[in-house]
Amino acid sequence: MFALGLLALTAVLLIALTLWRRRSPGALRLIEAYERLNRSVGLAVESGTRLHISLGRGNLFTTRAGSALAGLAMLRRLAERTSVSDRPPVVTSGDAPLAILSQDTLQSGYRAAGAEDQYRFTTGRLTGLTPFSYAAGTVSTIHDESVSANIFVGDFGAESGLLAEATDRENTSLIAASDNLSAQSIFYASSQEPLIGEELFAAGAYVGAGASHEASLNVQDILRWLIILAILIGSVLKLGSSL
């Protein structure tokens, strides 16, 4: 019942803060990687190059789905913003349902921008079903498709090292975030402005995906403080009982 109560509290906070954020949008702290992302989107449209967005291989039936869904929310907004470009963004993923969702999301973005006829289903790609086949397929996209910026948001493993190396060879921007600790450490070593931990889930808010994404950040902050409080109270009680 505690879990259900926590879920209900989170849901109420999300709805209330979303309504509040619609009336008064909040200011977000500066995250260099997202600044770079927004710059890269503008540059890609102006220079006629392509954005490459990779959503990893987060299976939608596992807890890894969260990062994939966060990537899709960001993709929706990026598709809308880059639909006028000569070269549409290309999206790769290593999970079949995720690839289909990426196609749907791309199409939604184009539709919202009034450019649905520009949409091609081959821009949302399944590049492989195992970690390394996914990496091999994605590396060829990085090399062959006139990509100016690579955005990796989702569940990646050690194969992310190969992807980061490919972006470096092509001298293109890399903005990367993952829910996987191995991939986080690889991206930390490989990208100029690394995104750590829950910063992945802030992607939507920083690309202007709406009030609900800003509200999500506020709710995360509230819950984080509650957890800190619980840890501190627990530590004090434990210390008190051992004395």
Binding site: A3, L7, T10, A11, L14, T18, L60, F61, T63, A65, G66, S67, L69, A73, R76, A96, P97, A99, I100, L101, Q103, D104, T105, Q107, S108, A112, F121, T122, R125, L126, T130, F132, S133, A135, A136, S140, D144, A158, E159, G161, L162, A164, E165, D179, L181, Q184, S185, I186, A189, Q192, G197, E198, L200, F201, G210, S212, H213, S216, Q220, I227
Partner: protein
Amino acid sequence: MRIFTAAFAIAAGFIVLLGYFFPAQLESFRLLLVDWAIVIAGMAVLVGIFNLIAVQMEKIRNRQKGGSYGVILIVSLFITFVFGLVLGPAHPYMRLAMDAIIVPVEASLMAILAVTLIYASIRLLRRRVDVMSIVFLVVAVVFLIAILPTPFGPLLGERGNQALVDFLGMFSQGGTRGLLIGIALGTLLTGLRVLFGIDRPYGGN
């Protein structure tokens, strides 16, 4: 149609979620919905493979860079698919295709990855010189030294090595827990947004 899709997705999501909290009332319905989802995900793999072929065909047709690899991929895919259907996945020839081609190729990619990671670490300081980068590199090197097998046994002795690993682990485990709590909170909020239909990755947005 879009409203129907969204309504169905939201209803299914709520039933599956509530099924965990009220198993006596909703367990069977939850399992039925999850079974349907698994069947659809199985079909999605076929759609994904069709997409893979379409992308490669486009590359070949437009004579794009890397098109020749696309030819190899489609021919290999077709041969494996036909042989898999005729012989079955457990046939020795099919296993040979796995053991002699796919496993060695992935193993060699793993080997390249090891070199790639060392190279990335070396270039980290060229890319970004700050305190955290230096701490990151120093800890990685110290940890590697601590677990390095040598002909003389552990470099710092059994106890010394264990003390070093425990000391570093104290920080890394704390950091890991902090990161995982943050990721769990992010996942929770992302899931709720999808559940309420605020984010609709199934094309209803």
